[in-house]
């Protein structure tokens, strides 16, 4: 009956998550797709398909089932789906057990769970001066 109500309902629910650490959150669903360059001040949850570049000040989560073909640059990156591209994690990269990552990786800390698949060059170290100063 009241379609407007349905729309308004989802906003407060998301807002509750957003304000958890003061950072906004950009959330994609499994049917969503993103093509292009996204620069986001906050956390990004990637699901569905993404292609291009993601420059994120906060964390990036790639949901299981997501297919990403992009350059990702963020603080912490957690991958549970399929990612192809260059990855720069200013802090930590976590590959979950169904994760697939192909590409070069530059991280400070790395955690790869059993079952994950990784192909590419890994560089570990301190990268404070790299990135967009996020």
């Amino acid at each position: 009956m009241d379609v407007q109500e349905a729309v308004a309902e989802s906003a407060p629910a998301e807002a509750a998550q957003d304000k958890k650490d003061g950072l906004r959150r950009f959330t994609m669903g499994p049917n969503d797709s993103l093509e292009g360059k996204l620069t986001y001040d906050g956390h990004v949850h990637v699901d569905g398909r993404a292609e291009g570049e993601l420059h994120v000040s906060g964390n990036v989560e790639v949901a299981s089932g997501a297919k990403v073909k992009a350059l990702i640059e963020a603080s912490n990156v957690t991958i549970k789906g399929d990612v192809e591209g260059t990855l720069n994690a200013r802090d930590k990269l976590i590959l979950g057990k169904n994760a697939k990552l192909s590409g070069d990786v530059t991280v400070r800390r790395l955690q790869i769970e059993d079952g994950a698949s990784l192909n590419g060059h890994v560089r570990m170290g301190d990268f404070e001066h790299q990135g967009s100063g996020g």
Binding site: I112, H121, M124
Partner: protein, 139 residues
Amino acid sequence: MIGELHIDGDVRLGGTVQGEIHATGDVEVDDAAKVNASLAGGDINIRGSVSGPVTARKRLVVARSGSLTGDVRVARLVIQDGATFSGNVSMGPQPDAFTAAPEPPAAAPEPVTEAKAPEVAPEARLSRTDAKAKDKPKR
């Protein structure tokens, strides 16, 4: 230890190791170990410092006290939080073919320090290609 070691079984490395380690079984690198060698084994568990290519036919685990620099070819990979790792990673089921080089497949009980062992392998790898039959197998 400095040199080339072929072990039929498991091997555990402590201290300083330089050269090549080939194990048919598992390889464990102790947390105080400093290994500057290529490692090949089934399950490889690194708790110390390793510099060199690593090939794990089954699984490679770099523990949080571990540090690995070098290219890695594994079927499965686990890197624990706190571990250090730099290098190229190539994952996928690792066939036993490439391990045939250091290991004499038929003559298992032979002491592997003999130079004879490596000679057997290239033939085994090139055996079915008649075109190359007249070429000297290059190691």
